[in-house]
């Protein structure tokens, strides 16, 4: 049987390993892979709503201007009606095309939400892609707002609406950049003193990386589980360093005032691992520390961890300790 592309895609196409997150990997001509964060239907829908509101505003403004001219006795003659009609045509059919073509893939709505249309190989789109996506919007909004687009996005790996599928584009989210991926490690923690380490006073980079991964902001690990994992790191680290807690002034101390009356004792391994990281990892900032709230509502809180940890510790009951393991 002669198979068609659709049938093949539905049945026999050899699929790459199923992607489970919203990142898409692209290879550069330099042979390096890098990843894009794909934008989901929520943000894209919101961007579209902003665009539509803008279109309505412009139409209203043009119509109002024509109306004022008419009241001023100049009359809404054929010429101003012609202007209105051409405005309507351009806004209906060419608004996304013109913006995405001229600004490298961004309509005003996309600018607000930090989205951008790119080709699936990561390069900026050209006029033909922008124009094609724009026209296919007419198919994507059938039979109601965004219905076909939503269906199409759920069926494609790169969250593409019909216009994206046909013209090989995708919408990426540039707002969740470095900020959301930074680790939640506070450098103000007291470092380990040389005096309380009887053996070597350094840690391999891979160990530090492992600690870093444990505290990545995007990684939702409960404090209990984190403590369990930290324990696995803490023992070998203490062994390598020859750590002697009895010589450490700061053993099991938090950097801030303990909240309430109870001593913050619950997560010793977490604290130790963090202090080891602060001691041996180079204190070098890179990238722009972004402190503004992220667009997706996630709070940015670089450097707030000890407070957060302390609160979690204080909130922890003896019951939870029993159940939690």
């Amino acid at each position: 049987m002669k198979s068609t592309p659709v049938l093949t895609a539905l049945t026999t196409a050899p699929r790459p390993p199923r992607q489970v997150d919203t990142r898409w990997t692209v290879e550069t001509p330099e042979g390096v892979d890098f990843q894009f964060e794909l934008a989901g239907p929520g943000k894209r829908g919101l961007a579209r709503v902003i665009d539509v509101l803008l279109i309505i505003t412009v139409i209203a403004a043009v119509a109002l201007a024509a109306g004022i001219l008419g009241m001023a006795g100049l009359g809404v003659d054929g010429l101003s009606l012609a202007v209105i009609l051409i405005t309507l045509f351009v806004l209906f059919w060419l608004y996304p095309a013109l913006f995405e073509w001229l600004t490298g893939g961004r309509t005003p709505g996309k600018m607000v939400l930090n989205l951008r249309v790119v080709r699936t190989n990561g390069t900026p789109i050209g006029f033909l892609e922008a124009f094609g996506r724009s026209l296919l919007l007419a198919a994507d909004v059938l039979p109601g707002p965004g219905t076909v687009a939503l269906l199409s996005m759920t069926c494609t790996e790169r969250l593409q609406r019909l216009g994206d599928v046909f013209f090989d584009t995708m919408v990426i989210d540039e707002g969740t950049g470095v900020a959301a991926r930074q680790t939640i490690i506070d450098r103000r923690l007291p470092p380990l003193a040389r005096a309380c380490c009887s053996r070597s006073f350094q840690l391999p980079t891979r160990t530090l990386t492992a600690i870093e991964r444990l505290f990545e902001r995007s990684r939702p690990i409960s404090p209990m589980r984190r403590e369990e994992l930290a324990l696995r790191l803490a023992n070998p680290i203490a062994h390598v360093l020859g750590y002697r807690p009895e010589l450490d002034d700061h053993a099991l101390l938090l950097p801030r005032e303990p909240v309430g009356e109870r001593p913050p004792m619950a997560f010793p391994s977490t604290l130790f691992v963090l202090r080891a990281y602060v001691t041996f990892s180079p204190d070098i900032e890179f990238g722009n520390p972004v402190n503004k709230p992220d667009v997706n509502g996630e709070r940015s809180r670089p450097g707030d961890v000890p407070v957060e940890l302390a609160e979690e510790i204080v909130e922890l009951d003896a019951n939870e300790l029993k159940e939690g393991s």
Binding site: A82, T205, R206, E212
Partner: protein, 326 residues
């Protein structure tokens, strides 16, 4: 090199890269200096190297992601299609478009049949039996058609000549180009939407033509339509062809992968509809400014006939100047 030394050594360049990228994005393309572009591409390449180094040595996710973002931004900036120029656009419309249409003449003929056959059938049926026209067209449409073509000065909306005409021309752009774009877009559903629209438009326009001729305004109507019809009707059929081509990419693969077939066909289809859009713009100007002129019918027939010859000749014969040497 250890991680600390690496960070110390490289972070200055990363910051410089970011700064330059922001700076270049904020200035116009014409004002970019070759020095800064050279710097950018050199830094980009070394950051690519940094990224792979950080990956292979597992020097931390955080660092890796930061460099990943830098590479992504640099890649997006550096690898772009060359900016189009006006001459390329003109060259495409005048030469590339007819060549592409001839390459895809099967789709043009299919679209012509889907539009033309119901058109002729509805027209002849309405001429023979006016009830068919009454069935296919709503009453107001018939009334306004009869009114419109009752006198030779068609499309006269009062007011002075220029404003009335530009209003009509812009209405034709709004309406006809909208129909054409819809013919294209609905092709995304395996071409079914396009086929439906072509049949429907063919029936309606055929019935309208039959009705107007039937009530005796044939001379006014034909002399009005013949000039811009050359561009307008042809462009509508081309738009239908583009929709069919778009849908065909979903069904047929021709030795390509499914996605590749889809994209190749879509790329050709969008070029066809772009050409059709330009043709409809020309048609709107003719329809707005020339077709309703109060001049003897034979002049309109002569000009209209000439325009048909021009359109057909152009679509059949035009080829890009460079290709003649081959």
């Amino acid at each position: 090199m250890n991680r600390v030394r690496f960070l110390r050594q490289r972070q200055g360049e990363w910051a410089a890269f970011e700064k330059l990228l922001v700076q270049l994005r904020q200035t116009r393309r014409s004002k970019w200096s070759s020095d800064s572009l050279g710097d950018l591409s050199r830094m980009y390449r070394s950051i690519c190297y940094d990224l792979s180094l950080v990956r292979s040595r597992e020097w931390g996710d955080q660092l890796e992601k930061y460099l990943n973002d830098l590479v992504a931004r640099g890649h997006n900036f550096l690898y772009r299609a060359p900016p189009g120029n006006l001459w390329a656009v003109v060259e495409f419309v005048v030469f590339g478009f007819p060549v592409l249409l001839r390459k895809r003449k099967g789709f043009f003929l299919a679209s012509l049949a889907l539009f033309g056959i119901p058109f002729v059938v509805a027209m002849v049926a309405t001429l023979i039996e006016p009830d068919v026209g009454r069935y296919l067209l709503p009453g107001e449409t018939r009334d306004s058609l009869e009114q419109m073509y009752a006198t030779p000065d068609i499309g006269e909306e009062g007011g002075d000549f220029a404003t009335g005409r530009s209003l009509m021309a812009s209405f034709y752009v709004f309406n006809n180009v909208g129909i054409a774009f819809r013919l294209f877009a609905l092709g995304a559903f395996f071409g079914i939407g396009t086929i439906h629209q072509l049949l429907f438009n063919g029936l309606t326009l055929g019935a309208a033509t039959g009705h107007v001729i039937g009530v005796g305004h044939g001379a006014n109507f034909c002399s009005f339509v013949i000039s811009h019809g050359s561009f307008e009707l042809t462009a509508l059929v081309v738009a239908g062809a583009s929709g069919l081509l778009l849908g065909w990419g979903l069904i047929y693969r021709g030795g390509m992968s499914a996605g590749e077939s889809l994209r190749t066909h879509a790329r050709e289809a969008i070029q066809l509809i772009a050409g059709a859009g330009v043709m409809l713009g020309v048609a709107a100007l003719i329809e707005g400014f020339f077709s309703p002129l109060p001049i003897p019918h034979f002049i309109k027939y002569a000009v209209g006939g000439l325009l048909w010859i021009v359109v057909i000749g152009w679509l059949l014969l035009a080829r890009s100047p460079g290709s003649e040497t081959r």
